[in-house]
């Protein structure tokens, strides 16, 4: 099974200069936990999660109304291609102890997100193995 068969294709992104509060509002309204950060030219710069906002920004005392997302985003984004097999995606998540991948097409544009939840729709065993390898709770 290919990644594109099970990935989430409704990808919302945010600009690097948006504030943390704006990112939090977007995640709340859209019921999502992560936003890719894409520049005006369409380049993927990073990713920010609800956990980054609470456990990093809030815990460290960054002011959410003035701090830009680019200051706290994770710059090392793990990606895969939409036409790869879902087992490749699961191996990468397991290796890196993560629960989400950003999905690219071969023009390097972001076309989707693949979470361990999406993976569960493809294979119970792959999703279970990712959960076991993931860092606690997150």
């Amino acid at each position: 099974m290919k990644i594109q068969d099970i990935m989430s294709t409704k990808v919302e992104s945010i600009l690097p200069t948006a504030t943390l509060r704006r990112a939090a509002q977007k995640m709340d309204q859209l019921d999502i936990g992560a936003l890719p950060i894409i520049s005006g030219e369409g380049t993927l710069l990073g990713i920010i999660t609800d956990r980054d906002i609470s456990c990093f920004a809030v815990a460290m005392g960054h002011e959410p109304n003035s701090t830009e997302v680019q200051k706290v985003m994770t710059k090392e984004v793990f990606t895969c291609f939409e036409d790869q097999d879902i087992s490749d995606a699961a191996s990468l998540m397991e290796d890196k102890h993560i629960r989400r991948l950003t999905v690219l097409n071969h023009d390097n544009s972001v076309v989707g997100l693949l979470s361990v939840d999406d993976l569960a729709h493809g294979s119970h065993d792959l999703a279970g193995a990712v959960l076991e390898a993931a860092t606690p709770i997150h």
Binding site: S8, L20, R21, A24, Q25, M27, D28, D31, I32, G33, A34, D50, R51, I53, S54, C55, F56, A57, V58, A59, G61, P64, N65, S115, V116, D117, A120, H121, S123, H124, D125, A127, G128, A129, L131, E132, A134, T135, P136, I137, H138
Partner: protein
């Protein structure tokens, strides 16, 4: 398999009067995503997650240094008993669309926590079903 065999036992807790900033810092330091809220008498009042701090404090423009845990915690906690079968826990998570349960002993004292990650150690299939039923990204 019983819930007590796979649950997380060392559960860190927080007081309802602590600030959400304190909660964020504890979650950050301990690499966890949620804290049970316990009053001075040891009574379980609610639960607070990293996402609550993102969506209910940052998104709404409240100051995490002033907002108390009890103002944003979830009061409706779903619980199970430590001597129940893990299938029962999975069924409860699936029907309530949630990923975590507070685990009680038969004296109704908190004895641990069971997350979908813990469940994956018992059964990939049960954990996967919980992921498929849970709300997006949460």
């Amino acid at each position: 398999m019983k819930i007590q065999e796979i649950m997380s036992q060392k559960v860190e807790t927080i007081s309802p009067d602590a600030t959400t900033k304190d909660a964020a810092r504890i979650m950050h330091d301990l690499h966890i995503g949620s804290l049970p809220v316990i009053n001075a008498d040891g009574q379980l009042l609610g639960i607070i997650t990293d996402r609550d701090i993102c969506c209910k404090v940052v998104a709404t423009g409240r100051d995490a240094g002033w907002t108390k845990v009890h103002e944003v915690m979830h009061k409706d906690i779903t619980t199970c008993f430590d001597d129940q079968e893990i299938d029962a826990a999975a069924e409860l998570m699936t029907s309530q669309h949630i990923r975590r349960l507070a685990v009680l002993d038969r004296n109704n004292s908190m004895s641990g926590f069971l997350s979908v990650d813990d469940l994956a150690r018992g059964s990939h299939e049960l954990a996967s079903n919980v992921l498929k039923a849970s709300t997006p990204a949460h």
